[in-house]
Amino acid sequence: MDLQGKKVTVHDMCLRDGMHPKRHQITVDEMVTISKALDDAGVPLIEVTHGDGLGGASVNYGFPAASDEEYLTAVCKEMNNAKISALLLPGIGTVDHLKMAVDCGISTIRVATHCTEADVSEQHLTMAKSIDNLDTVGFLMMAHMIEAEDLVVQLKMMEDFGANCVYITDSAGYMLPDDVTARIALARAELKPETELGFHGHHNMAMGVANSIAAVAAGANRIDGSLAGLGAGAGNTPLEVFVAVCDRMGIETGIDTFKAMDIAEDLIVPMMDHMVRVDRDALTLGYAGVYSSFLLFAKRSAEKYNLSTRDILVELGRRRTVGGQEDMIEDLALDMAKAQGTLKT
């Protein structure tokens, strides 16, 4: 595979997807310290938002240590070269949140929907496109659930609404490299040549780096990663590993590999509440095709109702749940506990 000289924009996730394993408790100070270090290491784009996007503060997903506005305001003003992005899931956040984030100084907005529901992003992508110099990205989650042909229809919809970049997102960490290749290659062939194409991986099957390289080989030019993998489930594609692999392959990221390694080891790992790794339950997410941020919710319900986390996750996969259905987890756990006779009804 010759990818020598290929340029890739690496987008860091540890301050957004990384909010999931931190139960959204990353402090403003930690956000500022880490984003400054990322900026210094040459990471061009950093996402800063509640794990479930703007407006994600809720009983359902968790209340964060600070508001999106506080995080974004604090981080944006400290950046020298890096740009800041925010995530928005229609149905959770609104264009009001989008405008707030723009006022805070973001330069990229990513509008995320389930892979079959791109049309709910019309309001938000249209609005984003109308804002001068706002990098407007469409983000299709749980992209393993549909075939490449169907996915491209949805990506094109986002392109039509105004996205200058679209993402194929492996929210469940389910995909294997061939799955990524098929989807990215078809998207690259069908989308406008000027539309950028990205891949967001999760490491639940330990495929984060391999999948990201497959994506680059098939035509993606933006790759999401997270230092030390800090992200939902077994985490995102570990950014420092991806960058090191890119160095070896001659793919240009503009990131200082040793600095990235140091931030991962010295700043990120020490702040983890638990080791973000491919443990039994995270592996189950990837194996069963379940939205990665369900992990801690399933663990909590398993503990509360005396069930196996893996059983809950497998059942969530069987029911084809999608991102955002965290409320289903306790409901399902109650049903399972009733069924096994450990809960009085």
């Binding site: 009001d96 259905q325 409901d331």
Partner: protein, 302 residues
């Protein structure tokens, strides 16, 4: 037919058609007009077959004769963007507007919570909040009538097939309007609404989760009792309104897990989200009709 109030349905889509079928069973409402904008609309054709007057010219097409046709109640099942204009036009002709869009220019109406109040205000425009609001606000109110709810949050999960283009284009209006309804009708100090669309096959039945955070420790017995009573109220017009789990008490969090199955009139049963809207809209219209028939209320131009 002398003791029925005549009504028009604006919007011959899924909601409008389901509403038509329900309205035809009503003892006090007689649907006489179906208003659309697309001459090819199957909903208009169906309404014409059922003997209604139809137009594909929008509300303009009905205005010249609606007064002569005796239309005193209109339902708007179009979209938030065109609602204000529709409402102004029919109000000018002396008809009450029942708004099934999330436009929310009139007072909110969630039948088991505040239908009496809405009707006694004699409002010429009432808003049915949103599907998620109709499914969840009664339960927020069931908790808040027992004790202070500082925060009410609802998560509505609907099947892809039941989320039409209007909802999809209006998704922000859904979250905003529902959140406001949780506060205004539900009685929570602060409201938050989330909607999730799931494409699974076979389509999932509408699911709703209600989370309330109470000011003081929740009175478990009183809240459980109040929630069960409220569910019975809603079941009077949506029989498939079902408690799945809860109320779950966890510190000051009260969580209620619901499923809403529709009657399956025109819409499939899984689309409980749409059914609860049409059922609530009709319930509201019937209350108005009863007031008009009893001579207690005369709709008038403003």
């Amino acid at each position: 037919m002398g003791n029925k109030i005549r009504a028009a349905i604006i919007g011959p889509g899924n909601i409008g058609t389901d509403l038509l079928i329900k309205a035809q069973r009503s003892q006090v409402i007689e649907p006489v007009w179906m208003v659309g904008v697309d001459p090819e609309s199957p909903g208009l054709a169906r309404a014409a077959e059922l003997g209604l007057n139809t137009t594909a010219e929008g509300v303009e097409g009905m205005l010249p004769t609606m007064k002569a046709d005796g239309v005193q109640i209109c339902f708007d099942a179009t979209s938030a963007y065109v609602h204000a204009e529709n409402s102004r036009k029919v109000n000018d002709q002396g008809a009450v507007m029942i708004d099934l869009t999330p436009a929310a220019i009139g007072p909110f109406c969630v039948p088991p919570v505040n239908l009496d109040a809405a009707v006694s205000q004699r409002a010429m425009n009432v808003n049915m909040v949103t599907c998620g609001g109709q499914a969840t606000i009664p339960l927020v109110a069931a908790v808040s009538r027992v004790q202070e709810v500082v925060y009410g949050e609802i998560v509505a999960t609907v099947s892809s097939k039941s989320a039409g283009p209007g909802t999809r284009k209006n998704i922000d209006e859904f979250t905003r309007t529902t959140a406001k309804g949780i506060e205004v009708c539900g009685g929570a100090h602060r409201g938050k609404a989330i909607i999730v669309i799931n494409p699974a096959e076979p389509p999932l039945i509408m699911r709703d989760t209600v989370h309330c955070l109470t000011q003081e420790e929740p009175n478990q017995e009183a809240i459980t009792q109040s929630v069960l009573e409220m569910i019975k109220e809603v079941q009077q017009y949506v029989p498939g309104y079902t408690l799945k789990n809860g109320p779950v008490f966890d510190g000051k969090r009260v969580s209620i897990y619901m499923e809403v199955e529709g009657l399956g009139d025109f819409l499939p049963k899984y689309a409980g989200n749409l059914d609860i809207m049409t059922a609530a809209g009709l319930r509201t219209a019937e209350m108005y009709a009863e007031e008009i028939l009893a001579g207690r209320f005369v709709p008038a131009t403003e």
